[in-house]
Symmetry: C2
Subunit: 255 residues, 2 copies
DNA sequence: GTAAATACTAAAACGCGGTTTAATAAATTA
DNA sequence: TAATTTATTAAACCGCGTTTTAGTATTTAC
């Protein structure tokens, strides 16, 4: 029963070894994730050991996710900005986190929505919801958002929008840049109708910027496809057409 | 090579039998979906036959989904409403479809986001995107939305919001009523900033209504939990507190 | 300090998933 | 009718998360 006994020491060392190994494996292969067999082998234990120490694969992932959420929350609390700016900066911070360990987060996300009954949803969703709700309320009391809207309703919509974009990034349909632009765009869109005089211009500017960023993303993706793929003439003509459309938009924005 | 030969007839009969059986199985058990073994047994064929006739499980699901998308599209084109109203009616229509075969759609959704590389995404997302984009453009040319926003950017945000809510319904975290309310709320929020004089009041009304619907959903869920669960006193007190908050909101709305 | 009890590990197996293969039966063709 | 193509089937394959079985090492009790 002594926590410093030889047995307990070895146990907790194994525990952290396994967690570290799991993180390493996820970082290494963003697409495949890891199997419990691979984890056990890489950690130098048998397949049954992780089950004795953690119970299930989901439990391991939950631990890892909770750790990262805590450090995100801490980093967020140290941001200097306030009001609406803080919300946009929180998006940038999130992007930094995702960028730092892309394989890890992609795998985590995959597991979160693979099995909705695993409790991952609560681990991931609960704190995030509170975070955004608090930012919204703070922005309201600080006079950056009008009063008279239900903070819960907006928080639900906002967090869902963010989560959906992160999920799309995690499944490989979006690069980080476009993901961030989409989130900024959606957030600005949602806040536009609630902005006060103190923030309206800033939000509007954010919205315009995000819109242009999105167009740039799509333009870049288009010209990339135009170079790489071996297309038939019709498809090529269509891409060229779209590309010209985007370029005309850009020159219009420059005016 | 004759399509009316005995062999081809039997083949196409088997094909449609299997598709029908798959749909039936999905309707019957919304949570578990179906395994290929169960499908084969229920259809009276061996496990390998579906693979000969369709290639993979995903292909079967894609066929079924494509059928339903087509009938949704047809029903949508027969709606009498226009402009922004059409968009909200399209949400109602979607709800009707989901309500008609809940088990089916829940399983389909589960598969769509279980394996993002299966092509289901394209089947589901492509037509839907075009549909909403067209509605947005039509509403703009009809004068219900201001000009000067990128229709693609908004369509991306809008369809993603809708898809995220449907997905949450499919995974059992949302009933259909709340799903619809959330979608209407998010849609109204996004359109608020773009509404013209011709539509601003209507959109604003939609927004208020959706907000109240959401509050009603949450209030109902709260009082349900309050009745059913065996809670400790603290948790019960918290729920009661929230419930009173919602009731105060409702009386404020009635004013 | 030794013996009994306990806890932990590792190897193999379980059950289930989608999918593929080897052999058999059927329909087409000559 | 004989030869050949085609489609179905039963059985197996492979990988997954997880559980069981048996042995080993640590702790506890005397």
């Amino acid at each position: 029963m002594n926590t410093t006994s030889v047995r307990e020491m070895a146990k907790s060392k194994r525990r952290s070894d396994i967690l570290q190994t799991a993180r390493k494996l996820m970082l290494a292969s963003a697409d495949d994730g890891f199997s419990m067999r691979a984890l056990a082998e890489a950690a130098g234990v048998s397949s049954a050991t992780p089950y004795n120490l953690f119970g299930s694969k989901h439990e391991i992932l939950k631990r890892l996710l909770a750790d990262d959420l805590a450090s995100y929350q801490k980093a967020l609390s140290q941001l200097p900005s306030t009001g609406v700016e803080l919300m946009f900066d929180a998006v940038g911070l999130m992007r930094q986190f995702l960028d730092g360990q892309p394989g890890f987060y992609r795998n985590i996300m995959r597991e979160v929505n693979a099995d909705p009954g695993s409790g991952m949803r609560e681990v991931a969703g609960g704190p995030r919801y509170k975070l955004w709700r608090q930012m919204l309320k703070q922005a309201t009391t600080d006079g950056y958002l009008v009063q008279g809207f239900d903070p819960d309703a907006l928080t639900v919509t906002l967090t869902q929008m963010i989560a959906a974009n992160v999920r799309e990034w995690a499944s490989g349909h979006l690069d980080l840049t476009e993901m961030e632009a989409r989130i900024r765009y959606g957030m600005a869109m949602l806040l536009l109708a609630l902005a006060t005089e103190a923030s309206r211009e800033a939000v509007q500017q954010r919205w315009r910027t995000a819109e242009q960023d999105l167009q740039n993303c799509w333009r870049a993706a288009l010209s990339k496809r135009l170079q790489q793929d071996d297309l038939d003439d019709d498809a090529r003509a269509m891409l060229v057409n779209q590309l010209q459309y985007f370029q005309s938009l850009q020159s219009a924005n420059a005016d």
